[in-house]
């Protein structure tokens, strides 16, 4: 799993709404207009691309893109 690919996938998901200068340091729930819809996109994208299904608990208090990447990477390797 590669962090730059992960960020690329995230950008592809979110570009429909507004230009987001996503980086590994971006705090997800501080993105302008962030709401539950974004979480649905995240869950679907991460499952399709990485075969990892995250739960509500996993996504509570979401941190940075890098932290999310690390969580997915950890789950993918279990």
């Amino acid at each position: 799993m590669d962090l730059s690919d992960f960020i690329h996938h995230l950008k592809a998901e979110f570009e429909d709404f507004h230009a987001v200068n996503l980086s590994e340091q971006t705090v997800l729930n501080e993105i302008e207009g962030w709401n539950s819809m974004h979480i649905l996109l995240l869950v679907a994208m991460i499952d399709v691309k990485y075969n990892v299904l995250l739960s509500g608990e996993d996504l509570k208090g979401l941190g940075t893109v890098k932290e999310l990447f690390e969580l997915v990477k950890h789950r993918a390797n279990l």
Partner: protein, 328 residues
């Protein structure tokens, strides 16, 4: 087994979903992308699922002699009485023959394929040759008007379907994942949690909620349950029929929301042209959504003789059922 005829009935009131339904542009854009409804059919307070189903069935019975019906299966999340079955109520209203059996299937969004499986069982046992499946749902009356995720999604409808035996053998998949129990439910009004005085008082200005209870949904949980269980069920169905995914002509999933259909389609690598999506026109009509989409696709001339149409219903429980139908 084959679907021979389908009819439908909508309540008169139509609610248009447009930019003015939302506080800002972004919310509206999100709705269009993730939910997808552009109009909802809303029943009047006091109308039940069986009222809509009855009208749909009356339309259908103009095309087929009543005495041909050997069994009536009714599906709804809002049954008329604790007992008798609402199928029994409809049997009486439609004046069907006394030897026609009745059964309720209150299984939510998975109910239609389940009803098909039951019908197929009656055919195989030689108990029936022609079965009427009627479905009626009034979920709009169980939505709290303040609920942002449901108020622009749930829509009311009645559908009636005639199914008959065919030379194509039918297979079915079913399942239930208790992890999803809390993600979609109407808790009040049953034996476990009867309506309390507090609940009834809180809804004095929304009397429909005191009749049908209140739907609570965790959209993220439902998405997770869908992605966890439905692809596996689809692969099992393909195995039973010995078909490749590419041989399926159309995928007719429960019309839950755009995001559910899109996520499933992407995970299964289904071409968009094979995914049937009529959310814009009909909204989420619970158990009516699959036969309603069937009706519309057929009317549009999408289906051709011999087409393989994979139907999969999923929702409350979290439960699912599915089959593959061959277009006659």
């Amino acid at each position: 087994m084959k679907i021979s005829k389908v009819s439908h009935f909508f309540p008169q009131q139509i609610k248009k979903i447009d930019r003015f339904s939302f506080e800002n542009d972004l919310d509206y854009q999100h709705h269009q992308r993730f939910v997808g409804t552009q109009q909802l059919h809303l029943s009047e307070i006091g109308t039940t699922g069986s009222d809509l189903a009855l009208e749909a069935a009356k339309r259908l019975l103009r095309q087929i002699p009543k005495h041909h019906i050997d069994f009536l299966i009714f599906s709804s999340l809002t049954l008329d009485y604790k007992t008798p079955t609402t199928a029994s109520v409809l049997h009486r209203a439609l004046v069907l023959k006394n030897s026609c059996g009745v059964l309720d299937v209150p299984s939510g969004c998975a109910a239609f394929p389940t009803a098909l499986a039951l019908a197929n069982g009656f055919f195989l046992s030689g108990s029936a040759k022609c079965i009427l499946i009627v479905l009626g749902e009034v979920p709009s009356q169980a939505v709290d008007p303040q609920d942002p995720s449901l108020r622009n999604l749930m829509s009311d409808a009645g559908v009636a379907v005639i199914v008959e035996p065919s030379t194509n053998p039918s297979h079915f998949v079913f399942g239930n994942d208790g992890e999803g129990f809390d993600y979609l439910k109407v808790e009040q009004g049953g034996a476990r949690f009867p309506f309390t005085e507090d609940y009834l008082k809180a809804n004095l200005h929304q009397p429909q909620l005191n009749r049908f209870g209140t739907i609570a949904m965790d959209g993220q949980g439902i998405l997770k349950m869908t992605l966890k269980n439905i692809p596996t069920a689809i692969h099992e169905l393909l195995r039973l029929y010995q078909y490749d995914l590419a041989e399926i002509d159309y995928f007719l999933f429960h019309q839950g929301s755009n995001i559910l259909l899109e996520a499933l389609g992407r995970k299964m690598k289904v071409p968009e042209s094979k995914m049937l999506n009529f959310l814009a026109l009909y909204g989420n009509t619970v158990s009516c959504s699959i036969p309603l989409a069937w009706y519309h696709a057929e009317k549009e001339g999408k289906f051709h003789s011999g087409d393989k149409i994979l139907c999969m219903g999923f929702g409350v429980g979290f439960s699912w059922s599915g089959t593959i139908l061959h277009y006659p």
